[in-house]
Subunit: 155 residues, 2 copies
Amino acid sequence: MSTEENTDLKTLLGALVSSGHRLTRLAATATDDQRSPAVWRTLSALSSYGPVRLGELARLSRVTQPTMTKIVRNLDDLDWIKRIVDVEDKRAWLIAATPKGLAALAEWRDTLASALLPHFSGLDAGDLAAMQRVVEILDERAALDGSAAFEGEIA
Amino acid sequence: MSTEENTDLKTLLGALVSSGHRLTRLAATATDDQRSPAVWRTLSALSSYGPVRLGELARLSRVTQPTMTKIVRNLDDLDWIKRIVDVEDKRAWLIAATPKGLAALAEWRDTLASALLPHFSGLDAGDLAAMQRVVEILDERAALDGSAAFEGEIA
DNA sequence: ACCATTGCATAGCCGGGCTATGTAAAATGG
DNA sequence: CCATTTTACATAGCCCGGCTATGCAATGGT
């Protein structure tokens, strides 16, 4: 991979992050959403990884443990997660999404996507394919396990 | 556009927003960044639109005016923006990015993108093209003017 | 048994979000 | 011209998600 290609990828990555920020605000204003990205991100992680320790959930979400403690307390109040005693370690909690939480996540996605639809009308099949591919790339590369595993393979 | 295609686009949009959240956290942890997405988003908007009123900047960024007042005060303290008296209206300020602010934005993008590169190694030209296209779509559709203009054209 | 490490909660701070309110300037209408 | 309404921004207060630092209890190692 030449320097020029690296520069192109670099430029793209910077632009992708910026565009993502913009999309985040669009998403926040497109619906009367009372919850933050952190809530959905956390529920999404629980949905993907199943019950995990609070500290591990923090790691997966790339936030510090006290931050995750706060988020989890919030989700607990909503009955969107439940705490499970980790029988192997009395210090630890396993955090699991409840059916109510998963339903809320699904509903959020649906409501949000519906609200965003008008902003993205008129895209052709090629555009959809591009979006699909980028989602795949991000899910693979921005996920902690995926990223770590990939680096392991290269190194 | 059939219902099925709408469903696919809906699913994609929801996934894209989620993936974007994940990328945001990756970006936040990939660098020792002391500034938030709001700072960069605002500087980026000023870079794109040139000097605008504080209220208009809030609108462009999809946040409320008091929020933007805070962000602008922050940027002002850093000498990354300057306030310009709007000669047409004594109540209003024009907010412009300073060269120092624009340099900081460019440096952030470079530093961030460099830090992200290892996570995204091994992508092929098709992947880059997909990312390029998605950035274009988001910039066009998530931007306030672009989105509004497009809706106007359809209606 | 003792000590270091680990897991989570708490404390404190900051900034970005919001709604509500206040002040001054500008626009509007009689 | 003047009273009223609207507009532009600042301030206040609240909440939440970030962080670092610290505390307490459990666990692991020697």
